[in-house]
Symmetry: C2
Subunit: 219 residues, 2 copies
């Protein structure tokens, strides 16, 4: 059984992986708030256990074993978030930190029961996909709002790097998953966008916000 620490390393590796599935030691070090030498020695240990491939001076890459373990931790995290919101009445901005701890519980029945009680969801409260019990992740086809052009109609399907402050921002503006936006203006100077929200009020969002909103283009 992987320790909490190992689970956190694998989860971070999984989250930070680029298209090629590779992650630099410094990235991990920053993300986990752990020194580079610590990451370096942990990388060697994880390689010993077959969780990743490590070669001196090369980026790290999860093996399929490592990916599976990571995905299962992510599954527990996201099911927990879902459960906290749906069954326990927490706000979507409150659940991350709790889930961060609950995800390490070793009790499949506990999570299976949550899954059942929230109706076998495929995405969590932030729109991120929930891996299945085998560790397979269903990719959702979406792009950042910031990559869309004037005139397009899109709907919000998820967030990238959701943080408490982003979530409160969205809450305070009455924005939730599933809402639709029509792009009215893209400001070339700073990348900020003016959009109509739910077919009604026009709002302007900074590039920073638009980069974190994952949307699906409407037909």
């Amino acid at each position: 059984m992987a320790s909490h620490t190992v689970e956190n390393y694998l989860k971070a590796l999984f989250a930070l992986a680029n298209k090629a599935g590779e992650v630099g030691i410094s990235d991990l070090s920053d993300h986990l708030a752990v020194s580079k030498p610590s990451v370096n020695s942990m990388a060697k240990a994880l390689q010993q256990d077959g969780f990743l491939k490590y070669e001196k001076y090369k980026p790290l890459k999860l093996t399929s074993k490592g990916k599976k373990v990571a995905a299962l931790v992510v599954r527990k995290h996201r099911l927990t978030e879902m459960f906290l919101v749906e069954q326990m009445g927490f706000g979507w901005d409150e659940v991350h930190d709790i889930a961060e701890q609950v995800e390490h519980v070793k009790a499949p029945a506990f999570f299976d029961r949550m899954d059942e009680l929230v109706g076998f969801p495929t995405v969590d409260p932030h729109g991120s996909p929930i891996p299945d019990a085998h560790g397979n992740v269903l990719e959702i086809d979406c792009v950042k709002l910031s990559e869309c052009a004037v005139g397009e109609k899109v709907s919000l399907v998820g967030l990238s790097q959701s943080s408490k402050s982003l979530l409160s921002f969205l809450d305070s503006h009455g924005i939730a998953l599933g809402h639709t936006f029509g792009i009215l203006v893209v400001e070339p100077f700073d990348g900020s966008m003016t959009v109509e929200h739910q077919g009604a009020e026009a709002r302007t969002f900074s590039l920073k916000v638009c980069e974190r909103l994952l949307v699906r283009k409407e037909a």
Copy 2:
């Protein structure tokens, strides 16, 4: 913040304490399945942190600080058990192991919410009292069934050392908290007792069972 390990030591100390609040190193060692030298050195560390009083060759004794931390862990454990049974549909024999892990989560809001959702209970599914948010435990006045005499009427209020096997035993015999018993026979030879259950069928229980059933004498 106390580590999982420290929390487990304090919880065990709390559970094993005799009337005088004292616990021997060997007891702890057995209970935690850890060697005596390990307990010994942990005892010194816990004393440094003010969780207990330790003197060479004397039994350990929790300080009030230690007792409070322990009680709060027990609180989280028992609220979790309650929540698992009442809100998630688990059986009372399935919840201990899950709660054993969930109790270490550091998120007061999580447990407060459980408390609310299960209606601020004062005892857990096994009849053990749930300490309040300040770590105070309400003592319930009960005795072991094995200490009762022929002719007494009692009701089941709790279990001491409930284990999965005891719980399945009780389940399979249709016995639950609150049930009443009238003591018909106490066998002097082996301490087994014959009782009427819920005013109906007579049953015989071994001493081993009777020592684990905590009952309140009826008026």
